[in-house]
């Protein structure tokens, strides 16, 4: 089986380790991994802000970049949903968009639903993890159980979090167009954060926003992308 990794621009720039972890993990599970060199951004920031004319060429070129791939895997729920749900809306009648939607998966979703892997190893034994459900993974892709299953089966204790399924306030451009509201949302989310050793999520944007806010408050919690923890689950 061959997978093309779509790193996504945010993870590429801010959580490069998620890409390294995803590649190692997929290879360890017997999957060949490609990294198509032409990839940049899926176009979501422009699409969500209403700039569809700016988003459309980015969607089209992404379709070309991944045309040959058997599967496309992303360490991001939001960008996966952009490809799976919104490319067909943005490019109505485009067959390649439908084809790419079919073969594109968020990493944990791919592991559980395509590879049928539910246990990666025991590398997270006794680790206390706070899992932030990224909204697009949760509500647009229906990825709720997959990350929890993989974390728990590796021995992690995923702590109950009252606001675990609430939006963190990132929202892409929202975070800079309405920064006060965005920060108030992060503060509400973090005010209910359980005492964990690590905070994780599928999405780099959410993590960047929450990590920034934690740092600003002088809190020193480890923030790591889900892919990194899943590799640790495997490798110990």
């Amino acid at each position: 089986m061959r997978v093309a990794l779509f790193i996504t621009c945010l993870a590429d720039q801010f959580y490069a380790e998620a890409g390294v972890a995803a590649v190692k993990l997929l290879r360890a599970l017997g999957v060949e991994v490609d990294f198509p060199q032409g990839q940049t951004c899926c176009g979501q920031p422009a699409f969500n802000a209403g700039y569809w004319d700016e988003a459309r060429p980015l969607a089209k070129r992404t379709l070309e970049v991944f045309e040959e791939a058997e599967y496309v895997v992303l360490p991001s729920g939001s960008c996966t949903s952009m490809v799976k749900n919104h490319y067909p809306e943005l490019l109505p009648g485009n067959r390649e968009a439908l084809a790419m939607a079919e073969k594109t998966y968020e990493l944990s979703q791919f592991l559980v639903r395509v590879l049928g892997v539910e246990k990666l190893g025991e590398g997270l034994k006794g680790r206390k993890v706070a899992y932030h459900h990224g909204c697009h993974a949760l509500r647009e892709l229906g990825v709720r159980e997959e990350p929890l299953l993989l974390l728990q089966n590796a021995g992690a204790e995923v702590l109950p979090w009252e606001a675990g399924e609430e939006c963190c306030g990132f929202g892409g451009l929202f975070s800079v167009k309405l920064p006060e509201v965005s920060l108030a949302m992060a503060d509400r989310k973090l005010a209910t954060l359980p005492k964990a050793e690590v905070l994780t999520s599928t999405d780099a944007g959410c993590l960047l926003h929450l990590a920034g806010r934690l740092g600003k408050k002088g809190e020193n919690l480890r923030v790591a992308p889900l892919a990194t923890l899943l590799w640790e689950a495997y490798a110990g």
Binding site: Q13, F14, Y15, G50, C167
Partner: protein, 462 residues
């Protein structure tokens, strides 16, 4: 109501800065509503209910002309006087005529968002009529001169202390008077108003076409009194409020209650079938004003008509993490929260309401809560796209988006940008964005090397 939706970003920021208590009060109240809704949804086959309700509403909206005519006929047969109001001015004319003909000096009002849209209170005051909002929350904000901040709980942004202070100034109650004592004071004032008002004004949750029945839901009994004690009752009904059959109420009354407050049914449901007949008690005259005010334009909009399914339950407000930070006031128009963000551009104009569709992270919680499955996130995207197409977005943003596209269209430029992020000066257009980010979150810390550079090492290693 005059719309100030354009000011949303500034007003939201100002409220968070200057009135932190509002955030606390609104978060507490909406989370409470939200928990109750989730429990109430879980008790029933909610997916089937929502699908059914959506289908009924879509059916009505697709045959609205027919159902409106049927409703008008039935209402008239029931002895109700029916008026059509395309604009707020049309509605004002009807009300002015009623007030003048009956020499109305005092009116009691049941809570109604449509009357906020129409500016009924300012009109009545201009006509010299003393108006009493009789829903307790509405009464509080009327005393304060504020608009409602929530569709169902208009005063959820107030703390107990604020209400105690208000009543102390107004009625001389002690500053530490318990809520029951304050409610008693309001009750005394409102009882007197109910008994002396010549005119009762209400909205309606539903209007059943086949029977001409108005259905109103409430928990305080004030709607029952407002619509039955005064000699004249005027109900303002949005044309989207129609249900085809009486039996549809069996679904819509409990569904709306569960969505709005998590109740199985509202404490009071009034079904109004026209004026009092010989030997009955009740109003001598009942008027129904069927109001358009932008609704037919919205109905004709192939991408936005689904908004008209809205039951005004407020479930999307309670579910919305953006709304929860500020309550409804910064939105600057009658309808706030997710539904306001997609309804207001339709009822006003996009130019007047354009920041509202951006008052969302597209988290999708509203869609999960909505009892009639209005695709709010999709509608938000539609309005945003239109805002851009109409040139309403700021020029720095347009510039940033053009730059973004240029960079992302070219892997070479993207790699250059990637290097720039790690040392070189950034494109000017992106600077305001950067500042808005770093102020609350500290400097951006890119990975030492982007993944596309690490790939070569990983590839070799594999």
């Amino acid at each position: 109501m005059r719309a100030k939706a354009k000011l949303y970003p500034k007003e939201a920021a100002r409220l968070l800065r200057e009135k932190p208590g509002v955030r606390e009060a609104v978060t507490g109240a909406t989370l409470h509503f939200e928990r109750n809704r989730l429990k109430a949804y879980a008790e029933v086959p909610i997916e089937a209910w929502r699908e059914r309700a959506k289908a009924v509403k879509d059916h009505v909206l697709s045959h609205l002309d027919r159902y409106l005519e049927l409703a008008e006929r039935r209402l008239r047969e029931n002895g109700v006087q029916v008026h059509w109001a395309e604009t707020p001015e049309d509605a004002h004319r009807v009300l002015r005529e009623v007030v003048q003909r009956h020499g109305v000096k005092r009116a009691v009002k049941a809570k109604s968002m449509l009357t906020e849209e129409l500016g009924v209170n300012p009109l009545l005051e201009a006509l010299g009529v003393e108006v009493y909002e009789t829903d307790l929350g509405e009464y509080l904000i009327q005393l304060l001169g504020e608009p409602p901040s929530h569709i169902v709980g208009p005063a959820i942004h107030l703390s107990l202390e604020e209400i105690q202070r208000l009543f102390h100034q107004r009625f001389g109650t002690p500053l530490d008077a318990p809520p029951e004592a304050l409610a008693q004071v309001a009750r005394n004032v409102l009882r007197e108003a109910f008994l002396t008002a010549e005119l009762g004004i209400s909205g309606a949750n539903f209007l059943v076409a086949e029977t001409g029945t108005l259905a109103l839901m409430e928990n305080e009994g004030n709607i029952r009194l407002s619509t039955s004690l005064p000699r004249v009752h005027v109900a303002f009904v949005g044309i989207e409020k129609l249900l085809p059959r009486f039996s549809d109420l069996a679904l819509f009354l409990p569904l709306t209650a569960r969505a709005a407050t998590g109740q199985r049914l509202a404490t009071f449901v009034s079904l109004i079938q026209g004026p009092a007949k010989e030997g009955e008690e009740g109003p001598e005259e009942v008027h129904v004003v069927l109001v358009d005010n932008g609704r037919t334009t919205l109905l004709a909009d192939p991408e936005a008509w689904e908004t008209l399914r809205c039951l005004r339950c407020g479930a999307c407000l309670n579910a919305c993490p953006v709304y929860r930070q500020t309550g409804g006031h910064p939105y600057g128009y009658v309808y706030s929260g997710p539904i306001g963000a997609v309804l207001d551009p339709g009822l006003l104009s996009l130019e007047e309401a354009y920041p509202l569709p951006y008052a969302s992270t597209l988290c999708g919680a509203c869609l999960e809560a909505c009892p009639v499955k209005i695709p709010i996130p999709k509608l938000l995207l539609t309005w945003r796209h239109r805002a851009v197409a109409e040139g309403l977005t700021p020029s720095w943003e347009k510039g940033a988006m053009r730059a973004f596209r240029k960079v992302m269209e070219s892997p070479a430029l993207y790699r250059l940008f990637s290097k720039g992020l790690r040392g070189l000066p950034l494109p000017q257009d992106l600077l305001p964005l950067l500042r808005a980010w770093t102020e609350g979150r500290g400097p951006l810390k890119p990975s030492p090397k982007p993944f596309h550079e690490l790939w070569k090492e990983v590839e070799r290693g594999g």
